[in-house]
């Protein structure tokens, strides 16, 4: 599903995004000048370990970063419009219509005192005005059907649904307005394996039917491989590698990417458990040079890695990496 790599086809363009979290002992650098793009119709996988800044980056796109976090700097162009330059009213209009969110904890993302139909409806009616009752009901039922939920969910309350069902309601809500971009923040992480499959399947179908562009955030490389077109790897607030999914698995250029791939358990062969030494550094105090160098076990590492911050650059066609060449 190759999308044309030119400006016209860009749904999302993130430029030099910097997000910090204030703590009593110093600012935590959550996003340190992150750049990436999403082209129309494609799915970009955003991977990295917990705390690497992927959720923060996603929230920043919608300007949903909560205090004590704050966006210091950066441009986020959705369909050519910079989200950072919008005022309150414009931002509210752009949210959900241009960019929608499938949140991480669907268990808690639904209002416990509102029926499902009302929660889907208010998103629609806020952006499209009052809708005639019958049409609205039709539309909601159709959305529920699209995500594989039975019609009776329409009248139910969130606590009456299982985890997987709640997640699918969130998917239905997100696609209701046919947004240009859907950000799915670890939609399957909180679910058991069987339900994960169902939800992943649902997302694929929805994506195919509606042709939405998607950012799929996760930390499971194996799952990502089945769902996305390109993968972007983040570590400690920095973008390390971006490449089409095939390329990144066949030829991972960044040592960290390599480690993530090696960590995928395999049914076919017995692999020794590869443990990545060390812990992520204190995010308030990044090491000089490449942020990954303290844990980098690559034979290509040089003294340069300690001094100079590597910049994300194109090494092969559409394959970007932030690592110093030999």
């Amino acid at each position: 599903m190759g999308a044309q790599a030119n400006e016209q086809n860009l749904v999302l363009q993130v430029k030099d995004l910097r997000v910090h979290y204030a703590t009593p002992t110093g600012d935590v650098i959550a996003c340190n000048g992150v750049d990436f793009q999403v082209y129309r119709g494609e799915t970009l996988g955003l991977v990295g370990e917990s705390g690497c800044g992927k959720t923060t980056a996603a929230m920043a796109i919608l300007r949903l970063v909560q205090p004590p976090g704050r966006i210091l700097h950066g441009q986020v162009l959705v369909d050519g419009v910079d989200m950072m330059s919008l005022n309150e009213g414009e931002l509210r209009q752009a949210r959900w219509r241009q960019v929608a969110l499938i949140p991480q904890g669907a268990m808690n993302s639904l209002n416990p005192v509102m029926r499902i139909k009302d929660q889907i409806a208010d998103g629609i009616q806020t952006h499209e005005g009052q809708q005639p009752r019958e049409e609205l009901k039709e539309r909601i039922l159709e959305l529920l059907n699209m995500v594989g939920l039975p019609g009776r969910v329409y009248n139910m309350y969130p606590h009456e649904l299982s985890g997987g069902m709640k997640q699918r309601v969130c998917i239905a809500m997100a696609i209701a307005l046919h947004p240009s971009l859907v950000i799915a923040d670890e939609p399957t992480s909180a679910l058991d394996v069987v339900v994960q499959r169902v939800v992943a399947q649902t997302m694929l179908e929805v994506k195919d039917r509606l042709g939405v562009s998607m950012i799929l955030i996760g930390h499971d490389m194996g799952l990502q491989a089945q769902l996305v077109d390109r993968i972007a790897v983040m570590y400690a607030g920095n973008m390390m590698e971006i490449a089409p999914v095939q390329d990144i698995f066949e030829q991972p250029l960044h040592p960290y990417t390599q480690l993530l791939i090696d960590a995928i358990p395999s049914i076919k062969e017995r692999k020794p458990l590869k443990v990545t030494e060390g812990l992520t550094h204190d995010l308030r105090n990044p090491p000089p040079g490449c942020v990954f160098h303290p844990r980098c076990a690559s034979p290509r590492a040089t003294a340069r890695c300690h001094e100079e911050v590597p910049v994300l650059h194109e090494v092969a066609p559409r394959h970007y990496v932030a690592c110093h060449p030999e």
């Binding site: 919608l62 509210r92 969110l101 005192v113 208010d122 139910m156």
Partner: protein, 337 residues
């Protein structure tokens, strides 16, 4: 049995348990005091015999009516039975008026004052608290709100005293005491003159109650709003681009208010106690004043009767709140089938 039915039965059962517990305590207390309380009552009657003509008949009627020579358990059961039928005995001071009659005269005044003042206090306090806890309340409003709380640590009866001194005695804007103008009597009439006088007399007592009550509710609601704001569904609500007003009400307040209902049920006892004292300060023709009359005159039956009725009223109010709660929180009524 459906879940809702079970819940309702539980709450009603609780009502009866509370009333029973209160009645038992009221029954036991006089019998714990040193000496024979019945003899004390009779002495009391006899000491007033100078004022009452037929004291001998009174005593005889008393003994006959209330079987004072029966064994204790029988007396207890009879007491419970009578209380439930609202037969609370004769007032010692106002014989042959029964306690029920006195209560019936004063209860409406208490209800009028209590219901209105509590409503304003709870609603107003929670509204202020919700606004205080909401991150997006305009700065101007947020800075004004703590003013509303300055009196929250002052007990209602003190506020009453202060208000009387300043606004009634000092400025003469409001009457110093009573619930209705002189000469108008305590039976409610729907004439403009009567209603106007009643309102005029009610202003200070109501102020005393809700100015002091709002603070507690505001603080509680503020805490709940802050907690609710941190919930995931609030983030999604914002991501959906919903209007701030809708997020505030349907997502914020609607969830934060639920524990406050429980809090209202729990503070009923305290609210009633405060009300009693305020009425006492204003000589308002309600249950508080009636209680005081009982105390001043050593009218034990009146004291007991008033206590019992108030306990029952409090338990009833709690029951009502408990029954309304499921209407607001679907997790109680709708259980996964």
């Amino acid at each position: 049995m459906s879940f809702t039915l079970k819940y309702i039965l539980q709450r009603v059962g609780m009502f009866f348990l509370t009333v029973w517990l209160g009645a038992t305590v009221i029954f036991i207390i006089p019998r714990l005091a040193p000496g024979d309380p019945v003899a004390a009552m009779i002495t009391q009657l006899q000491s007033q015999a100078g004022r009452v003509e037929n004291s001998a008949e009174m005593i005889a009627a008393w003994r006959a009516r209330f079987g004072l020579d029966d064994p204790m358990p029988i007396q207890y059961l009879r007491f419970l039975w009578n209380s439930l039928r609202f037969e609370l005995g004769y007032s010692l001071r106002f014989f042959p008026t029964t306690v029920e009659e006195l209560i019936a005269r004063n209860m409406p005044w208490t209800i009028r004052l209590l219901v209105v003042a509590t409503f304003v206090s709870v609603l107003g306090g929670n509204a202020i608290g919700a606004l205080m806890g909401w991150r997006h309340t305009p700065k101007l409003v947020q800075n004004l709100l703590p003013l509303a709380l300055t009196f929250s640590s002052v007990p209602p009866f003190m506020m009453a005293l202060g208000l009387i001194y300043v606004f009634a005695f000092g400025l003469d804007w409001f009457p110093v005491s009573q619930g209705i103008g002189r000469g108008l009597g305590t039976d409610w009439q729907w004439t403009w003159e009567y209603v106007k006088s009643a309102i005029h007399h009610a202003v200070l007592p109501m102020l005393a109650i809700f100015v002091t009550g709002m603070g507690g509710w505001a603080l509680g609601m503020r805490g709940m709003m802050i907690t609710t704001e941190g919930e995931d569904y609030m983030i999604l609500a914002q991501a959906k681009g919903l209007r701030p007003g809708r997020v505030f009400w349907r997502y914020g307040v609607r969830n934060a208010i639920l524990p406050q209902f429980t809090a209202v049920a729990l503070s009923m006892g305290w609210i009633v106690s405060g009300q009693i004292l305020v009425e006492h300060m204003f000589a308002y023709p309600g249950m508080g004043t009636l209680l005081n009359v009982g105390i001043m005159n050593g009218d034990y039956t009146l004291i007991q009767g008033v206590s019992f009725i108030l306990i029952m009223a409090t338990a009833l109010a709690v029951l009502l709140v408990d029954l309304i709660y499921p209407l607001l929180d679907p997790r109680i009524t709708y259980q996964r089938s």
